[in-house]
């Protein structure tokens, strides 16, 4: 497995882990997550990493090496460097989707409604990757 693939798995996992921890720490974030049921798939083509996240009952389950059979939507990225930039917080995911840098299959509206899920973390941990917030 290449270093970039491992790094992307780490970044994705780190964000989802921090999201699940932030639910315990921040009542406002928890309130925003409440009522959301979503299965999000991330695919890096041609050969991974592929990950998915299940948000249900204010809990987050993350698989950093797998494909879900029935995701609500799948984000497809053809460029590992772009993926790294997005999950370091240097390139907002909503912008990358709007620009077509990430292809979305499935319920795009649902995705755009919950991009806060990751973007709210950037002011907290983006600094680690040199993001000015």
């Amino acid at each position: 497995m290449t270093k970039k693939k491992i790094a992307l798995r780490m970044l994705l996992g780190g964000l989802h882990y921090c999201a699940s921890e932030l639910i315990k720490e921040d009542p406002n974030y928890k309130a925003k997550i409440e009522g959301i049921n979503a299965i999000m798939q991330w695919k890096s083509v041609p050969d991974g990493p592929n990950t998915y996240t299940i948000i249900k009952d204010t809990k987050i389950e993350f698989n950093d090496d797998g494909i879900h059979e029935h995701p609500d939507f799948t984000m497809i990225c053809k460029d590992l460097d772009l993926g790294l930039e997005i999950f370091k917080g240097r390139n907002p995911i909503s912008k990358a989707i709007k620009n077509g840098d990430i292809e979305v299959i499935g319920d795009k509206e649902k995705l755009l409604k919950i991009t806060f899920y990751l973007e709210d973390l950037i002011p907290l941990i983006g600094e680690l990757a040199g993001v000015q917030v």
Partner: protein, 129 residues
């Protein structure tokens, strides 16, 4: 410890912990170099904790928990120093010598963990941070 610091330490713990889990299972050079490493390594930074178990060089990480019989305990009170250590910009030996990191237990095993961490930093830190 404010929320931002806490989340950053949690993120760094995840990068180290999950990074070691993945690299120790996929990198043949790593496996060859650390195939005899066995130990339990407890970390505390402020109120955030994790421990890692190494068995024959393969790592397993547990977050937000304290092991009742670790071989080594690393404690860093200064949050900024802890970030530097976990990011690899400050090496553990220097931090220990300067009194920025407290090590209790088997110091030799602590040094082995420092070597393991250096490999991880070389592998991934440029890409993660």
């Amino acid at each position: 410890m404010d929320l931002k610091d806490k989340m950053q330490i949690k993120a760094l713990f995840y990068y180290v912990g999950r990074g070691l889990e993945v690299v120790s299972r996929t990198n043949e050079d790593f496996q060859e170099e650390f195939e005899t490493l066995d130990g339990i390594f407890q970390w505390h930074v402020g109120e955030v904790s994790m421990y890692l178990i190494a068995k024959k060089g393969v790592f397993e990480t547990h977050y937000d928990v304290i092991h009742d019989a670790p071989d080594v305990i690393f404690t860093v009170e200064d949050i900024e120093k802890a970030k530097e250590i976990l990011k690899g910009s400050l090496d553990g030996t220097s931090a220990y010598m300067a009194g920025d990191m407290n090590i209790q237990g088997d110091i030799g095993m602590g040094q082995k963990f420092a070597t393991v961490s250096e490999v991880l930093v070389e592998e991934l830190s440029d890409l993660l941070l």
